[in-house]
């Protein structure tokens, strides 16, 4: 274990800034997860694979000579239709059933996507180079790639747009009504089937945005999906469903935690520490609730 990180404040600042910029992205993915969890009561294990797929769309634009930042616009459109397609094929059959069924079914989708992406795009780690350069702070002790700042800014813009859309538009109202009480919404003339499809599509589109940003700032690989699913699940259970500031804050917290784990334990334990943190958070909440003889449900 390496505690150098606390002796050199510049490294601490670097890790914090990196973590916050990364955490904004996580929060965007987690917002999609909270949306579908709240509305349809399913847990989507394929969330991370949708992110990676969105990243590959941006990467392909980069390969064909288009600037990958345009992927932020194109990717959500394509991902929306892929999301609706997945909903029509699989998800609509698991919506009313046990949560475990949805976990297992989306696990199957996740394995399927992983392998199809592996066939289509190859097993190499790829990165879409945006050519944005870097910003140096504090006498070039802290180095921030501009692409990270760009991705955080775009995520915030998208999140704000989505919040306004959910508040003001007709579909947004229908989605919120369905989340509160699907049966009552049906009686009042909301086509819940359409609302569910749109919700899953919006979730997939959010994943597409996040994926395009990740392909610019970090790297993508067909098998990297599951950690993103686990991160978004973790953020949602810490923040709670429908608590948007909470999602943003816990996303940033997770990002900072990851950067510190990276510095202190070494990169090989980075993903492992994320999964371990999930277990610890769940166990902590379990003990906290069991004092009142309640349990997580």
């Amino acid at each position: 274990m390496d505690f150098m990180v606390f002796q050199y404040p510049m490294i601490t600042i670097q890790a914090c800034l990196d973590g916050i910029l990364l955490g904004v992205l996580f929060a965007l993915i987690a917002y999609g997860m909270a949306l579908q969890w709240g509305v349809m009561n399913i847990i989507n294990i394929a969330q991370g694979d949708l992110v990676i797929l969105g990243g590959y769309i941006a990467y392909f634009m980069y390969l064909y000579g288009i600037h990958p930042a345009w992927g932020v616009i194109v990717s959500p459109f394509i991902m929306y239709f892929i999301g609706v397609g997945i909903y029509k094929l699989v998800i609509n059959k698991v919506v009313d059933r046990d949560l475990f069924i949805s976990i297992l079914a989306t696990f199957g989708i996740s394995i399927l996507f992983m392998q199809l992406m592996n066939f289509a795009f190859g097993a190499d780690v790829v990165l879409a180079n945006s050519g944005y350069g870097t910003t140096f702070l504090f006498d070039s002790n802290v180095v921030l790639p501009n692409s990270k700042i760009f991705s955080a800014a775009v995520s915030i813009v998208f999140a704000i747009c989505l919040v306004i859309y959910m508040k003001k538009s007709k579909l947004g109202r229908a989605i919120r009504a369905t989340a509160q009480n699907a049966r009552a919404a049906k009686i009042l003339g909301v086509d819940t089937e359409k609302v569910y499809a749109a919700t899953f599509g919006i979730n997939a589109a959010l994943c597409g945005v996040a994926g395009a940003l990740i392909s610019i700032t970090f790297t993508i690989h067909p098998y990297m999906g599951l950690p993103y699913t686990i991160r978004s699940f973790m953020i949602v259970i810490v923040a709670g469903l429908g608590n948007l500031p909470g999602v943003a804050l816990s996303g940033m917290g997770l990002g900072v935690f990851e950067e510190f784990a990276d510095y202190m334990l070494g990169t090989e334990f980075r993903i492992g520490s994320v999964f371990l943190l999930l277990v610890l958070i769940l166990v902590y909440r379990r003990f906290k609730l069991s004092r009142k003889r309640e349990y997580l449900k």
């Binding site: 069924i101 399927l112 066939f119 686990i230 999964f275 769940l282 166990v283």
Partner: protein
């Protein structure tokens, strides 16, 4: 035990003992089948009988695999140098050392995961439903990632288990591992069958059906949940130890803590055969293994695509499994009394 059952079990036992000599080409496949049945049948204790859908039994399987191999090497040679040398063998086990190491290794591989399950059981089993599922999924993946960073057990480059001693060649090796896994399977079956005929099984079912009510009836649910998990862990560790020797090479995420393959397989096999029945997981594992091997051989490269589609199809269209389907079709065979008039009325209703 009824006489019909006795004949059936004897026939299966004789077939199992003779199988490697009847199908000499399939010895390895048969051993893997035994391991798969053990995993599915012990998963069924949680998922089927207790209603706790665990993705984390792979933790005990991988733990057993690493422990068995480490003990087998560490008893006679320095472990660090063994893993450092990788594939090139600097040390050679004599036959006596190999079998001694394997025996001790299997015992450790079974006992330590049981203790681990007992220790973490109180924390983890307090979670319910999908939180338990996701938490155990996280446990399995975390174990894989962390063991992939530990130097002494080979880290990223993997751990080569001791090669089978130099006598009898591949035939003897295949027979040895087949009988290991077959006896482990017999032990598992006897234990599970004994468990399923006691009050313990009824308690597990009570927990599945309504845990709060079971607790209100004065059952210490937590105690029984932990015991159930420990039974699973014991046999998962044992199966892992055997499988490690059989494969001959342990990789942290692709062989030992292989949540993407083995961890899902055990859930899938139990669901395919029918959750909450004694024979369901056994039938499910057999059908699944035959299907998988056929697919793996003829459509190499597309196996994960097929696996993904298979999971979705089974979960959505066939959640009751083979035993559930049979039960609906022939309820008399399962000891259910069916009123013919009632049955007809139900058909008309449909």
């Amino acid at each position: 035990m009824k006489q019909k059952d006795l004949i059936l079990y004897t026939a299966i036992l004789i077939f199992g003992l003779a199988a490697p000599f009847i199908f000499p080409a399939f010895k390895v496949q048969l051993s893997i089948l035994c391991v798969l049945i053990i995993l599915a049948a012990t998963w069924n204790i949680q998922g089927g009988e207790m209603g706790y859908n665990s993705f984390g039994n792979i933790l005990f399987y991988g733990l057993g695999m690493y422990l068995c191999a480490s003990v087998q090497v560490g008893m006679f040679f320095p472990l660090a140098e063994w893993t450092e040398s990788g594939g090139e063998k600097t040390f050679v086990h004599t036959p006596k050392q190999f079998f001694q190491g394997m025996a001790v290794g299997l015992i450790v591989a079974a006992v330590v995961p049981t203790i681990v399950a007992g220790l973490i059981g109180y924390s983890i089993l307090g979670l319910r439903g999908h939180y338990f599922a996701i938490c155990t999924l996280g446990l399995g993946v975390a174990a894989g990632e962390i063991s992939g960073g530990i130097e002494i057990i080979g880290a990223g480059q993997g751990f080569t288990t001791p090669p089978f001693p130099d006598f009898g060649g591949l035939e003897a090796r295949g027979e040895f591992f087949y009988f290991c896994s077959f006896f482990a399977l017999v032990l598992t079956f006897i234990t599970i069958r004994a468990i399923y005929s006691t009050r313990f099984k009824l308690i597990l079912n009570a927990i599945r059906d309504n845990e709060d009510k079971a607790e209100a009836m004065g059952i210490e649910t937590m105690k029984y949940k932990i015991i159930g998990w420990m039974v699973s862990a014991f046999f998962c560790g044992l199966a892992g130890g055997i499988m490690g020797g059989l494969v001959g090479y342990i990789d942290s995420t692709d062989v030992a803590f292989d949540g993407r393959e083995m961890g899902v397989f055990m859930v899938l096999m139990a669901i395919l055969g029918g959750k909450g029945t004694l024979w369901g997981p056994i039938i499910g594992a057999t059908v699944f293994h035959i299907f998988k091997e056929g697919f793996w051989t003829f459509f190499l490269g597309w196996q994960y695509v097929a696996l993904g589609v298979l999971i979705v199809v089974i979960v959505i269209y066939f959640p009751e499994g083979i035993m559930g389907w049979l039960r609906e079709k022939y309820p008399e065979r399962f000891g259910e009394v069916v009123d013919e008039a009632d049955r007809k009325a139900q058909v008309e209703l449909k």
